[in-house]
Symmetry: C2
Subunit: 136 residues, 2 copies
Amino acid sequence: MTAHASHPELTKNQALVFGSLSDAGGPLTAYAILDLLRENGFRAPLQVYRALDKLVEYGMVHRLESLNAFVACSHKGCSGHGTAAFAICEKCGDVREFTPDEAISLLRNWTESRGFQLSRTTIELRGTCKNCSVAN
Amino acid sequence: MTAHASHPELTKNQALVFGSLSDAGGPLTAYAILDLLRENGFRAPLQVYRALDKLVEYGMVHRLESLNAFVACSHKGCSGHGTAAFAICEKCGDVREFTPDEAISLLRNWTESRGFQLSRTTIELRGTCKNCSVAN
DNA sequence: TTACTTGTGTAATAATATAACGCCAAAGTT
DNA sequence: AACTTTGGCGTTATATTATTACACAAGTAA
């Protein structure tokens, strides 16, 4: 799997949604995206959700389950790679994406030893980032 | 942290909610719990959510972020323990709780090296359990 | 007594997500 | 060309999940 292959061709709506997530530089809810894109003619949540489905499928956007929000993959021009993990600061909202290969591999060992066919892994760490704990 | 300490005293509502989750033997949404407990006088979602908040705080119930559902901790009489992970079968809905200590420790290493104060870890594996992949 | 805390009941509403419909354009046939 | 298939799109309505706000009751600490 190439970590930085070129984008698939995006439709207009997909490009708009991806653009707003990239510009935001952090997570947005579907409805926040909708509001940002009303000036571009968006009118209904489904326009956002449909685009997000595709972008997530392409690996260009990640869904943060514990926030019900979405974030652009931190790899520029990313078109899909392995499982990512997220450290989410509850103070400032900052989200750091990382790839804990060893931990993921241990989790995969667990699933394989039980005959569990793994299709998707969610790893989300909630807490306080360095900046925010210093600043108190 | 004791893994099987005795319950805190539960209020009536908390005991009812915990009971329905235990009886279910699997995840339930808050509204599914509400429907189960209508015969016990429950009338509003908040009664369920308030009880769930406490039960999660006590560590007796886990929230499954990727399902927006709740499940009784698989340790009988559990009153809180370390981070758990969940393997969720998308075919049959079965949820297996486990404790991948090494993986969790690697994730904690990552956070510590970045000065990230970790407060809560979510690990959820989606896929197909052994039974369901055999059965096709 | 007062004040404070915790749990409760209720109504209303907010926030997140999907179903169902029909239209259109591109691409691949026959 | 006509026909079909596919994917995306727009719209309305609705379903699902979660919270805000307000009032009350019981316990307990001062």
